[in-house]
Amino acid sequence: MSSTARDKLVLTIVGWLAAFLIFFPILWMVVTSFKTEIDAIATPPKLAFSPTVENYAAVRERADYVHFALNSIVISVGATLLAILISVPGAYAMAFFPKKHTKDVLMWMLSTKMMPAVGVLVPIYLIAKNIGAIDTRWGLTAVYTLMNLPIVIWMLYTFFKEVPKDILEAGRMDGAKPKQEVWMLLMPLSLPGIASTALLSIILCWNEAFWSLNLTVSNAAPLTTFIASFSAPEGLFWAKLSAASTVAIAPILIFGWLSQRQLVRGLTFGAVK
């Protein structure tokens, strides 16, 4: 017995140590955000210090956090809803009425995701400029919608395939029209799958840092741009950088933690159970 107790102790220590090491950079960032700038760069690092919130105040003064956060929320959620709305009919059709080329269509859709964004930066930038989409919320929302469309449609497709056909057919026998069939049977039945699709899409949008840096300036700039403005600072800045980083990742980190169980299914297209 005592050897199993010892094993358990070792296991506990190793498990927590691993988690601590992986989490450490984030922890260190949060700790640093409560230091003064002088303390932040002190070597040896100061572990005992009197916490201050002055960095958060400074960040607030320097940039309007709420403005950026609101952009992040509006654009991430907007792009996610749009992508799902566009994908549901297609995924429904492919999952329940597969044709000869359904497989090829799906592969083609995923292959568009292989195209490196940077390869098409110039044309997208020029198009956006010509139609006045630069630095607008709708412009970035449109780009994110298209960017995530292949993944969203793939995920919805795999989740829809898990819905027993018989239930939909029973509904059909009872006279459900196609719209009713989708809205009143398919959607409620695959709600967990749709939720995990939405979660992943929101997280991908929130953290996207290529299009946001290149297509926005200030009006529609999300939190990735907000953080980038802290990357080329003058003088002492580690504590302020940490404070800005903390507020930039806090919403999505909490959101991710709350939804991690759902997320796993989404991440794997439901392929791993």
Partner: protein, 307 residues
């Protein structure tokens, strides 16, 4: 549920549904919005890129845009920096995959065991996945890897070593470290999920038969994880081929070309040299290369995922 194929390749033909269904559904209008949008999103920029790549087109030097034939391609393809960037790209993808899948598997086995507070420890371990790349790059670059004030420099000095100038002396390895840290939780999450579906009775039986932990790992756990590992490799590769923010924030591709990957090289041509023609040729080369990798890798792995 159990028979569901969530495949990338093999979509099982279900003739049954078609026969029993009273409604002969015309799927075209249902498919149209997604297909048309994706097609435009792909083809319009692609055609424009091809067009630009055949032109002398520089945004600042003011010379009129003229037809260049294949000059841009000739320049890009004979430019040694393309080869360097290509090798860096592959190097980065390869090592991040090795680190994340290797460590991820070990961690999945670890977090599959029961221990007090396991669920909370797990939450901490997956946290980096939710951190935006710009933030993680900034935090690692400054707070941890700074050669004078960084935490790693302090540890090195306390142990009597010379602190490492990470981004000066080993830029690509440093970028790999940061990117691997971001993707490790992803591998962990997926492999852990797969671990949990492993039959505990099977493990118990193997143990009764006297299987040692190591042979358990290689003969029972690893084969069980193979499909999940394929999924991890496939999805990570899609994203790792175009790592950008981490390089932009930390090394700007340098010193020299030491940490320039393909995405960053094209970015430099397009935005720093304002050479639309060259950047477009480079972009097209990147698209072709990405698709070659994709075809090889994804096809091979998709098969595995499909079974």
């Amino acid at each position: 549920m159990a028979t569901t194929t969530t495949s990338t390749a093999a979509v099982p033909a279900p003739p049954r549904a078609g026969r029993r269904s009273r409604r002969n559904v015309n799927t075209l209008p249902l498919m149209a919005p997604a297909v048309v949008l994706l097609f435009l999103w792909m083809i319009v920029p692609l055609v424009m890129t091809i067009w630009f790549s055949l032109e002398y087109y520089n945004l600042i030097n003011g010379t009129p845009v003229t037809f260049a034939g294949l000059d841009n391609y000739r320049y890009m393809l004979t430019d040694p920096s393309l080869v360097t960037a290509l090798l860096n790209t592959l190097y980065l993808v390869f090592w991040v995959l090795v680190i994340t899948v290797g460590l991820g598997t070990l961690l999945a086995v670890l977090f599959d065991q029961e221990f007090p507070g396991r669920n909370i420890a797990r939450l901490f371990a997956i946290a980096p996945f939710f951190v935006m790349p710009t933030v993680s790059a900034l935090i690692w670059e400054n707070l941890l890897m700074h050669p004078v004030n960084g935490l790693f420099a302090f540890f090195a000095r306390s142990l009597g070593f010379q602190p490492i100038d990470f981004f000066g002396s080993m830029p690509l390895a440093s970028v790999i470290m940061i990117v691997a840290w971001q993707w490790l939780p992803f591998a962990l999450l997926i492999l852990l999920t797969a671990m949990q579906s492993l039959d505990h009775e099977q493990k118990e039986a193997a143990r009764m038969d006297g299987a040692k932990p190591l042979s358990m790992f290689f003969f029972i756990i690893l084969p069980h994880l193979s499909r999940a590992i394929s999924v991890v490799i496939m999805i990570e590769t899609i994203f790792l081929l175009s790592v950008f923010a981490e390089i932009r924030v930390t090394t700007n591709g340098g010193p020299g070309l030491a940490s320039t990957n393909l995405a960053y090289l094209i970015f430099q041509q397009a935005l720093e040299n304002y050479d639309v023609g060259l950047a477009s040729a480079g972009g097209l080369i990147a698209v072709v290369l990405a698709n070659i990798v994709a075809v090889f890798l994804v096809r091979a792995i998709a098969k595995n995922v499909a079974d």
